[in-house]
Symmetry: C2
């Protein structure tokens, strides 16, 4: 094979395989389910239960949360307003990549600032960003205090703790509101699955 | 349902669905195929062709490249040595997330510094990082100059251009060497598929 022929072989083919092709293999329409709410509101718990329910249907999803982001990609960031904004910006970009890859992804971060969440929404294509407001009264979150964080925050040992010493800005127009103080975990998952089915992300079970 | 019961429902269940579970649905073992080499060596071209070959087998893969990373997650970074290092660090973390999600992911970045690539390797579990050295003589790359970048670099219009005014550090122990100056695109893809089959990432076709 001559050099010319070989050089001709090596030509940029943009996007031979696209998102729709990937989704055809995966059997669903991808999206980012963006869980937002106070510490202890149940974001991770609901996301983990949803992940299992999706897996039971043969759907691969992936959770982005503090464990795999704060210790990795964003380990250079703290909790100042600027760093929280950069934290959410990067997570939004990663979520967008996962969505483009065709993977249903669930993000579980307090993400307290409305402007930051709206920037992620604006980054994505219509329908790709499903804001799930995990709406649980702070009294309930604080009573649970699974990780003992509220107690430490009240003692001033954690600065800029959302709901205590830093603001949480309630979503104005989320796709889904989950009142986890009232709903059982099963009911929360059923609500999410119903949304995904009704809006064409998943085939009906 | 009492508050106590509800609160009991909302308990952290770590990793109900794990990587092995996801891979079972997806039908392969995930990995990061890390293409490294000069501009114009064929990294993206080979990655795109491999993506298509994988798709033909029902395998979803995803390419991380300058188009979807430099314009998104890493749009705050330039091309200084520090920024290149941070660029590769973040890409490595994202690749690690994709691998954990069970998705075969292909990264196509010059990634000129050995230390940066080795840090990504160290981040991942054994076998998750497949370094593919796209080994093409700079004369061939420059002759192709698909994007006209070498011409601009020679004119001094692009500072810190790898191979011209910035170093490229050859991999010392890559899993795969692809001599794209000698191989056709089909031969390159066949080499990669053969590696993936032989090493248990893919079932034999």
């Amino acid at each position: 094979m001559s050099e010319a022929t070989k050089a001709t072989n090596i030509v940029w083919h943009p996007g031979n395989v696209n998102r729709e092709d990937r989704q055809r293999i995966l059997g669903h329409r991808a999206a980012t389910m963006w869980f937002t709410g106070l510490s202890g509101s149940g974001k991770s718990t609901v996301a983990v239960a949803l992940e299992k329910a999706l897996w039971d249907r043969g759907i691969v999803s992936y959770i982005l949360d503090g464990d795999n982001i704060r210790h990795g990609l964003n380990k250079d960031l703290g909790f100042s307003p600027e760093d929280r904004t950069e934290n959410i910006r990067r997570i939004g970009e990663v979520a967008n990549l996962f969505t483009d890859a065709g993977v249903m992804n669930l993000t579980a971060f307090i993400s307290p600032y409305r402007a930051d969440r709206d920037k992620v929404r604006a980054l994505m294509q219509p329908g790709d960003f499903i804001e799930v407001y995990v709406d649980c009264p702070i009294e309930t979150c604080e009573k649970r205090d699974v990780k003992g964080l509220y107690a430490k925050a009240r003692e001033g040992k954690i600065p800029e703790f959302t709901g205590i010493s830093a603001p949480y800005e309630t979503p104005t127009n989320p796709e889904i509101v989950l009142k986890t103080g009232d709903l059982s975990l099963e009911q929360s998952v059923a609500t999410l699955l119903s949304y995904l089915e009704t809006n064409g992300y998943l085939k009906k079970a």
